[in-house]
């Protein structure tokens, strides 16, 4: 239910607690954390810069989140995405889905990530250890993942 775009890092415990604190109706919490990998197609990375479309990003994440709540019986969800300069090992994105039952939570978290990947207006530029920058190409497998949800 909360979507956020920020340059700051996020804290997994704090984000989960914000959803579950004081509640005893939630039986299952699934989190997905995306991290910057140190190698991309055999290229060693020095850093990654995330650009986004302020305004549309938040609106689109909100739309994706609402769609997840329409499709599954969820008690709480959260999406946090970082922008700006990141380094290998840094956290990029966090998705949380909480529900009474585990299958809803797993499916909704996977759905949120699949749709975020193909619809939320973020763009990654990688800078190699050689100092050369290159925009990341979109992956066809991500489009396939979205189509699989019908």
């Amino acid at each position: 239910m909360g979507v956020r775009v920020q340059t700051d890092d996020f804290d997994l415990n704090a984000e989960v607690r914000a959803l579950t604190a004081g509640r005893t109706d939630i039986g299952a919490v699934v989190t997905f954390t995306g991290l910057v990998r140190g190698k991309a197609s055999d290229r060693v990375l020095a850093s990654m810069t995330l650009e986004h479309y302020p305004g549309m990003t938040e609106a689109e994440l909100q739309r994706i989140d609402e769609e997840a709540h329409r499709r599954w019986d969820l008690d709480a969800t959260a999406i946090v995405h970082r922008v700006g300069d990141l380094r290998p090992g840094d956290q990029i994105v966090l998705v949380i889905a909480a529900s009474r039952h585990r299958q809803n939570a797993f499916e909704a978290a996977a759905f949120l990530m699949d749709f975020l990947k193909t619809r939320a207006p973020f763009w990654k530029k990688e800078t190699g250890a050689d100092g050369v920058g290159a925009w990341v190409d979109a992956r066809e497998s991500d489009d396939d993942a979205v189509r699989s949800w019908g």
Binding site: G34, L50, E51, H52, Y53, G55, M56, A59, E60, H81, I92, V93, M113, L116, K117, T118, R119, A120, P121, F122, W123, K124, K125, W135, V136, D137, A138
Partner: protein, 85 residues
């Protein structure tokens, strides 16, 4: 019609600007029309919009298709396929 145009990522870099305000002719009715019209502006636009399949658009911050009508749009964005997450 006056329209705010915004560009992101590789498209922004190619055009050398993140955005501009343009006066669009009345016969530019759709997102596709707008791309065709921009391509005719100069070589930088022609190059940036050359591979139409790799350019995505949003109208007033909602994903759009080439056939999407501009109608009373205030802001149109062009960008490559997204790569977040």
């Amino acid at each position: 019609m006056e329209l705010k145009l915004v560009y992101f990522a590789s498209l922004r870099e190619r055009l050398g600007t993140g955005g501009e305000t343009r006066d669009i002719p009345a016969d530019v009715a759709t997102v596709g029309d707008l791309m065709t019209w921009l391509k005719g502006q100069d070589e930088a636009y022609a190059a940036a919009f050359e591979d139409g399949a790799k350019v995505r658009a949003a109208v007033d911050q909602v994903h759009a298709k080439p056939e999407t009508l501009l109608a009373n749009a205030r802001e149109v964005a062009f960008f490559p396929p997204v790569t977040g997450g």
